[in-house]
């Protein structure tokens, strides 16, 4: 397995060196040694290639990244990016060789670290913008009704023309985000909300049924634990429910 992978690595490197061919000067030929201009960083280190397990620590947490200066975060981003590229390259190499990648959770750890880093940077930028400008500086989202009356997130777009001059775009907006609220639209909205409420009620019912089964089997169950497991359940409504009323009149009627 190690030989297969190292052969993949070496063939890739040789391909690279053959691409960067120096111009042949008349009468002389320049010998190109295996020049690898930094591309070996796309692959795992030589001593890690044959291993079935590569031990690596956990991802960076938000609290730890908040302690670091912006320059440190800037540097860390590129370290993580290079590691991510290396891991994705190796994932592909292992797939080609039909071999399981050792510790593929490394990709998730790096991705999580990068997400946390981006979140910290966004927090700092948001703080500055809110202090100086009063807005977060990020792309806003406004709730608007579409033509059918449903609430949709409208994302503002940058234009080269001011909106007073941009009549063509405003006309399309009228159809996209303008709601007339006439009879058919109101009928639709009524039925649409019925549909949404039915789906939500069904989700609650499934949990209520499971919770009722638990209470019937264990009458002295801890309500906090039950609600932790079934968050959509209303404990008072559950206790009054016809499915379990018989067993629990003495314990829970208070």
């Amino acid at each position: 397995m190690a030989q297969l992978l190292s052969s993949i690595v070496s063939t890739a490197a040789n391909h690279v060196s053959s691409c960067t061919r120096l111009p042949v000067i008349m009468g002389r030929s320049l010998a190109t040694s295996t020049v690898r201009p930094g591309l070996e960083e796309f692959f795992e280190k030589e001593d890690n290639l044959g291993k079935t397990r590569i031990r690596v620590g956990r991802s960076w947490r938000l609290e730890e990244l908040r302690l670091k200066s912006n320059t440190d975060l800037h540097k860390l981003w590129y370290v993580l990016l290079k590691e991510r590229n290396m891991l994705l390259t190796m994932e592909h190499a292992y797939k080609e060789a039909y071999v399981a990648m050792p510790n593929d959770e490394r990709i998730d750890k790096v991705a999580e670290s990068m997400e946390n880093l981006e979140e910290v940077v966004k927090e700092r930028n948001r703080a500055y913008y809110q202090l100086e400008c009063g807005v977060t500086g990020e792309r806003d989202r406004f709730m608007r009704r579409d033509a059918l009356g449903r609430f949709v997130f409208y994302k503002p777009v940058e234009h080269s023309m001011p909106s007073q001059m941009n009549t063509g775009y405003r006309k399309t907006l009228r159809f996209r985000y303008g709601c007339s609220m006439n009879e058919p639209v109101k009928d639709f909205l009524g039925k649409f909300s019925e549909n949404i409420n039915f789906k939500q009620h069904y989700k609650e019912l499934l949990q209520m049924r499971e919770a009722a089964r638990v209470v019937r089997r264990f009458p002295e169950v801890d309500m906090d634990a039950l609600v932790q497991k079934y968050p959509l359940v209303n404990p008072e409504r559950l206790m009054r429910w016809k499915k379990i009323r018989g067993q629990n009149t003495t314990v829970h009627d208070a």
């Binding site: 690596v56 620590g57 730890e64 912006n70 202090l131 638990v214 906090d224 634990a225 039950l226 932790q228």
Partner: protein
């Protein structure tokens, strides 16, 4: 995978994973874990399990427990495996049954001694370290403010065993050997280098690097 929408711009991208409703003794990183809960059985009723709050769970790997029911009643052993979703615990070498695997045709199969699970609130009692007998245990706070399990009968605290810290990467946190190339030292991680400045991330980095727009 329960359902994944086909590739194509005309389909709304949808991915429904299989939910494991009936947990078995299989471990999540095995194939058998997913095979035990096929897509065709997703609508079946899950088993009724007494809900115990996540923070009140008090049984860890390596804990010494006394078995109260079954063939090995009265015997003590150490917890081997935990299935918290079913309130199950397996004690090493106790409460076993003989099972045959792989019987086909003439081959009688391999017989193995397999530990059967025990219910945490009924078949198990944590052992008090002072008198080596099973006790009722509660989560309480010590005078220092630390939350530990304290046996109701004697009042001694039962610390969480070292075996509970074990992961695939290390047996104990203190004995973990850092990867020289990839890991960052704890002292470096905890070092505070941030000085709040009235600038965005980009402005600060540009100042530090001397870039002028």
């Amino acid at each position: 995978l329960k359902y994944k929408s086909p590739p194509g711009i005309e389909y709304r991208p949808l991915f429904k994973p299989i939910e494991i409703k009936k947990h078995s003794m299989e471990r999540p990183w095995t194939v058998a874990y997913w095979v035990s809960n096929p897509a065709s059985r997703q609508n079946w009723d899950p088993p009724v399990v007494l809900p115990i709050k996540a923070e009140d769970w008090m049984w860890f790997r390596g804990d010494r427990v006394e078995i109260l029911t079954g063939q090995d009643k009265g015997k003590q052993g150490y917890i081997n495996m935990i299935v918290q979703e079913r309130n199950w615990v397996t004690v090493e070498g106790l409460n076993c049954e003989y099972e045959t695997f792989g019987k086909s045709g003439d081959f009688p199969g391999m017989m193995m001694k397999v530990e059967k699970p025990l219910l945490v609130y009924k078949d198990i009692k944590l052992v008090d370290p002072t008198d080596e007998k099973g006790t009722e245990v509660e989560w309480r706070f010590t005078e220092a403010g630390e939350r530990t399990r304290i046996s109701v009968r004697t009042g001694t605290s039962i610390p969480i065993p070292m075996k509970a810290q074990e992961t695939i990467d290390y047996k104990q946190k203190a004995s973990y050997v850092m990867n020289k190339d990839k890991d960052t030292k704890p002292s470096v991680v905890e070092e505070v280098t941030y000085e709040p400045k009235l600038a965005t991330f980009e402005m600060d980095v540009m100042d530090e690097m001397g870039i002028k727009e």
